[in-house]
Each structure stands twice: as structure tokens, then as C-alpha cells.
């Protein structure tokens, strides 16, 4: 149970490649923080620096107020779960979990107590005498978590723990990690490339790209108010649609026009833009597929599109559309209220009209890629 503070933490490899640029973050005690980003963004490197498995090239890392830059992993009081589980193949599950305790010379009685306790929580009691190779992927993952659990470490690190599991098991384990997190009451740092995992698990999410933090915030914040194009595109599935548009100002009111329609912004957005004193300019309009309104008839504020693909997902349809400029737009449409006739009309090649509610629109500067409204 501890806070973790990273100040200007940097990783430069021998070949002068910088994997992580000045990384600043304060992680609260008992917080569940998720590092998320595409592969090669430096999230794992950062985690491994916190663990002590990589040298820190610059800056300071504090755990519980103590600078630990030069400490060996074993002296940092951390526990870690690896992507490929890293279970010791020649030891039984019991010995695997007990390994760290025995290294600390914990009395055997207590080792037994703690290992069986952890096994019970994770539901692996019946496998304690087996070797890892006799276990399934999910069971192995539990053992790996158990091994980290028994240590009662200050910080719990998880490096893509679910990415080797199949989709169904992943959902199940995700739920279990949430439960575990409440039982353990410790600080979690969790690395993943999967934005869904990040959204569902994290108290706060750290979105990284090319060794730089793009945005830090709660799942709601990063979803609602992405500060730049990258975050907007990375969070949410299917991805946010981006369309070229132009911003026009008349007095303190702003409007966006694209594809022959002009969409006024709402007062909040106007206020922000006016404060920034934004003028007429080219912008990138971002709109999430689930925020797009679908009309089955022409409307003056609606954009005309053609349907390319109609994916039936059960409770909703994912429609891949092309607008008049040839840009692609994806739309999510709940199936519940659709009439038979409407469903039939959503076939390949037919026309459809969509419109964007003002509060769902995100505007980005095409040059800096920063959001004009959010952040």
C-alpha cells in the first residue's frame, strides 16, 4: 500500500533510442492505474522501470516517498504478473506461490497459511500439487496472480496479464481482477494495449504514444473529452469518425460546415472557442459512431451517405458508410426500434442520412491535432 511518484523518468537505450520521454505521474495509494497505448509506446518499459527490471536513464522514481532508482527489484517491495505468466516449470503450483516467501525465510507454517489462503481466493486449491504444464491458460494466470498476491507487496504490477487468454476467458478474468482489487486494497499498475480493458479496470488511465503521455484521466474523462486526435481515436470502439470540416465564427456563435451542411455548436462549446478567440479555420470533426443520429429520409442538416457494409452485431448494427467526398464513416445503430422496412432499406448500396448532435462533436486542429474544445 503505497503511492508511486514518477518525476521526469526517462529511458534511453544504448543505441540512443529514447523509449520513454520525461514521464511525470503521481499514483495515489490504493489507486488502480492503467497504462494503455499501441505496441512500442513505452508503457511496458515504464512498468519495467518501476519494477526495477530496466535501468532508469534519468529522473526519479519514488515508492512511498523513498527514491528507489538504484534499488534491485527484490528491494522495492513490488509484485508483478507477467504476460506469459513466467511460472517456474519445475515447481508445483504450491512451490511457485511459496517461492518468494521462502526466499524471505518466512516460517513454513505461515507460508502454508498464506499460500492456501491465496489459492482459495483464486479457486486453485485443487491444483496446488500440480506442475504448471498441467494447467490451462486461465489457471496458470491465476497461479501467477497468486504468486504476486501472497507477497502483500506495496505495489502490484501487471504487464498485459490477459493478452494470452481467449476472448471469453479474458472477460471472466477481467471481472475477477476487479474483485481482487477490492479484496487486496493495494496500489495497482496495469499495462495493456486493449482500450476496453483500460476503460473497465482503471480508476485512471494513462494513454501513451511514442514514449510520451498523451492524456491522463478517468475513463469517463478520456472518453468524453479527449485532448487530441490520438486519444480520441484510441479510446472507444469502433473508432471515432474523423471528417474534414471548417469552423465559422459569427459574433460569439460558432458553426461547423461540411459536405454542404452547416451545424451550429452549443453554448458551452461557443464559450470555450470564444475564450480561445478562435477564428475561421479548417478543423477535423470527430464524432463517435454511437453518437451519430440516423435518418431514413433527407433533411437539411443531414449528410447523405451510401451503405458499404452492414454488420449485424445483435443488439445493434454497425454500418460502414461512404460520404460524398469518399470518406468512410461508421455508425452504430440500435436494432431495437427499427421497423422491418427500415431494416430492409439498410442494404448494400442504398442511401442513408446521418446528422451530428452538437454536444457529441469534437473539434481538432488539423496542424497540432489538439482538441479545440476539450482539455
Amino acid at each position: 500500500m503505497a503511492s508511486v511518484k514518477l518525476t521526469d523518468v526517462k529511458k534511453v537505450y544504448d543505441n540512443n533510442v529514447t523509449a520513454v520521454h520525461d514521464f511525470n505521474l503521481e499514483i495515489q495509494d490504493k489507486e488502480f492505474i492503467v497504462f494503455v497505448g499501441p505496441s512500442g509506446c513505452g508503457k511496458s518499459t515504464t512498468l519495467r522501470m518501476i519494477a526495477g527490471l530496466e535501468d532508469i536513464s534519468g529522473g526519479t522514481l519514488e515508492i512511498d516517498g523513498q527514491v528507489v532508482n538504484d534499488l534491485q527489484p527484490k528491494d522495492r517491495d513490488i509484485a508483478m504478473v507477467f504476460q506469459n505468466y513466467a511460472l517456474y516449470p519445475h515447481m508445483t503450483v504450491y512451490d511457485n506461490i511459496a517461492f518468494s516467501l521462502r526466499l524471505k525465510k518466512v516460517p513454513e507454517d505461515e507460508v502454508y497459511e498464506r499460500v492456501t489462503n491465496a489459492a482459495q481466493i483464486l479457486g486453485i486449491t485443487e491444483y496446488l500439487t500440480r506442475k504448471p504444464r498441467a494447467l490451462s491458460g486461465g489457471q496458470r494466470q491465476r497461479v501467477a496472480i497468486g504468486r504476486a498476491m501472497v507477497r502483500n507487496a506495496k505495489v502490484f504490477l501487471m504487464d498485459e496479464p490477459l493478452s494470452n487468454l481467449d476472448a471469453k476467458l479474458r472477460n471472466q478474468m477481467r471481472a475477477e481482477i476487479i474483485q481482487l482489487r477490492h479484496k487486496l486494497e493495494t496500489t495497482f499498475i496495469y499495462v495493456t494495449h486493449d482500450q476496453t480493458e483500460a476503460m473497465t479496470l482503471g480508476d485512471r488511465i494513462v494513454i501513451m504514444r511514442d514514449g510520451v503521455i498523451e492524456q491522463v484521466g478517468t475513463p469517463q474523462e478520456v472518453f468524453d473529452t479527449p485532448v487530441n486526435l490520438f486519444v480520441a481515436g484510441f479510446i472507444g470502439s469502433p473508432q471515432m469518425n474523423f471528417l474534414k470540416a471548417s469552423l465559422q465564427r459569427s459574433g460569439d456563435a460558432y458553426s461547423v460546415s461540411l459536405l454542404g451542411v452547416t451545424l451550429p455548436l452549443n453554448p458551452d462549446q461557443n464559450a470555450v472557442l470564444a475564450r480561445k478567440n478562435a477564428g475561421d479555420q479548417q478543423v477535423i470533426l470527430g464524432i463517435r459512431p454511437e453518437h451519430t443520429a440516423v435518418l431514413f429520409a433527407p433533411d437539411e442538416n443531414a449528410i447523405e451517405c451510401t451503405i458499404d457494409v452492414n454488420e449485424m452485431m445483435g443488439s445493434e448494427l454497425h454500418l460502414h458508410l461512404t460520404d460524398k467526398n469518399g470518406d468512410n464513416i461508421i455508425v452504430r445503430l440500435p436494432t431495437m426500434d427499427l421497423t422491418q422496412e427500415q431494416r430492409r432499406s439498410l442494404s448494400y448500396g442504398s442511401r442513408l442520412f446521418i446528422s451530428f448532435p452538437a454536444k457529441a462533436m469534437h473539434l481538432f486542429d488539423p496542424g497540432t491535432e489538439k482538441s479545440l474544445i476539450d482539455g
Binding site: L53, P73, K74, I78, Q83, N84, A86, L103
Partner: protein, 289 residues
């Protein structure tokens, strides 16, 4: 199934049978060729009517005379020399090779690449060359001739770190994340070696011991230099080799065969039991490098 395709099927099966039969015959021939010399050695070691080389295989008169004669020569001494040298080398060389290969596989230190390259270049010099100086140095230290065994062990073991390739190749296949997990769990590097890596490396440890034992067991060159001029310091290879020179061959040829059988027997038995590990080492490590 039409008649034509049925025929083709028959043809396929028939041709496979023919080719498999051919291969079986070939393998039998190969096995015979490979085994004949050894069968001959064994047979000739029991021949008593003539102690020199002859042009026939089956002895006319059988007997164990060659074996009993062996024990009136220096052969038991040579055998002991070889055995001690091989045993000591097996133990020490294994430790050194494993230290070397574990380090080069697991640690990323600044001098790692230069060191490996340096040893590669070093290996391009004929090792025999260094024996000239080593012989004189060991002679000054009194570790040659009659005292050859400790000297030999030293020579075998000292440079054995250069033969790290095979076991390094094996260590490379053990995931690094095991080391990392153990480090997070609180193990020192030394503990990782003997609690995690070594228990997982049984095949390669056995392979290393086996090859380290077999090297001295059959070595001729180094032993020849170091035992120079004496009989008491010879190992079996040098001793038996000398029996085949022009002056002795007519008297010692069958004794050579008997000695050869006694030398080959223990390693062959050892090999039979440890074959699995040897194969694993050769196939796993030899190519990875």
C-alpha cells in the same frame, strides 16, 4: 471410386511399399558397415594364434590371452591415468562451461559482444600450437611425464570456457521472464542460477558432463605432448597408439584390440544410458550457436 483412381491408389501404395523396402535394406546395409569394425575389434581381441594383423576376421583359435597379457603391461596405469583425468575434467569443465554460458546468455554487460567476438577469433588459432609452450611451462612446474595427470587436467579444463556455444544455445531457450519473475520475487542472481535455471537445464548439464568426460577419454594430442618420453604418464590413447608402430605391431596388435574393447566399453555403456541427453544437446545446441 472409379476404376482408374482405384488403380492409381494401388500404384501409390505399391510404390510406397517398394521405396520403404529399399530404405529398410539400405539401413540394414548401413548398420552393417557401421558395426563391422567394432565386431572385428571384439573378435580379434580374442584371437590367440597370431598377435599381429592378419587378413581374416574369425579367429582360428579363441582365448582371453590378450586380456591377461594387457595386465602385465603398463595398460592398467594408463587406464587409471585416463580415468582420473576424464573424471576430474568432467567435473571441473562442466562448472566452467556452465558459468560461462549462463553469463553470456543471461547478462547484458558492456563487454559481452566484444568478449564473444574475441573468443571466436581466438578459436581460429590452432590450439595445438599453445601446447609447445604449455609443455615447457608444465615441465618447469613438474607436471609432465610421470606426473602428467594433473598437468593434463589443467590443460583440458583451463581453456574449456571457450566451448560455451552449445549450452548457451540451450540457456537462450529458457525465457528471460523466469529470471525477471524470480528477481521480483526476491532472488539474487546466484539464487536464480541454482534455484531456477539449473533445475531446468538437466539435459544440457548431462550433455556437458558427458562431452567433458569423453574429450580426455579419447584425447591423443595433448597427452602425447605432456607424457613425452615416459610410459607411466601416458593415457590409453598414447599407449595404444604406440603399440601399432612398426616395431611392436606384430606383437601387440591383438592386445591393442583387447585394450580398445576395454576402453570403449565404459563410454559405450554410459552413452547407451545417456543417449537421450546427448541427442538433445547436439540437436538443440550445435546449430543455434
Amino acid at each position: 471410386m472409379s476404376e482408374a483412381t482405384a488403380k492409381r491408389h494401388m500404384g501409390l501404395r505399391a510404390s510406397r511399399t517398394v521405396s520403404n523396402t529399399l530404405i529398410h535394406v539400405l539401413l540394414i546395409v548401413i548398420s552393417i558397415i557401421w558395426l563391422i569394425p567394432f565386431v572385428c575389434i571384439v573378435l580379434q581381441s580374442f584371437r590367440v594364434e597370431n598377435t599381429g594383423p592378419v587378413g581374416y576376421i574369425i579367429p582360428h583359435q579363441w582365448g582371453t590371452g590378450n586380456y591377461t597379457r594387457l595386465f602385465q603391461t603398463d595398460f592398467p596405469r594408463w587406464y587409471t591415468n585416463t580415468f582420473i583425468a576424464a573424471l576430474a575434467t568432467a567435473a571441473l569443465q562442466t562448472v566452467i562451461v556452465l558459468c560461462m554460458s549462463y553469463t553470456l546468455s543471461r547478462f547484458r554487460f558492456k563487454m559481452r559482444q566484444p568478449l564473444m567476438r574475441f573468443m571466436l577469433i581466438l578459436g581460429m588459432f590452432p590450439g595445438m600450437l599453445s601446447m609447445i609452450i604449455l609443455y615447457r611451462v608444465l615441465k618447469d612446474l613438474g607436471l609432465t611425464q610421470a606426473n602428467a595427470v594433473p598437468g593434463l587436467i589443467l590443460v583440458y579444463v583451463a581453456s574449456s570456457g571457450m566451448g560455451y556455444y552449445v549450452s548457451k544455445g540451450f540457456f537462450d531457450t529458457i525465457p528471460m521472464s523466469l529470471d525477471e519473475a524470480a528477481r521480483v520475487d526476491g532472488a539474487t542472481r546466484a539464487k536464480i542460477l541454482y534455484k531456477i535455471i539449473l533445475p531446468l537445464s538437466k539435459p544440457i548439464v548431462i550433455y556437458t558432463i558427458l562431452t567433458a568426460f569423453m574429450g580426455p577419454w579419447g584425447d591423443y594430442v595433448f597427452a602425447r605432448y605432456i607424457a613425452f618420453g615416459t610410459s607411466a604418464g601416458k593415457n590409453v590413447a598414447v599407449g595404444l597408439y604406440d603399440w601399432l608402430n612398426k616395431d611392436q605391431i606384430s606383437n601387440c596388435y591383438t592386445m591393442f584390440c583387447a585394450g580398445g574393447v576395454l576402453v570403449a566399453l565404459p563410454v559405450t555403456i554410459l552413452f547407451l544410458f545417456l543417449q537421450k541427453y546427448y541427442v538433445e544437446g547436439v540437436t538443440g545446441g550445435a546449430v543455434k550457436g
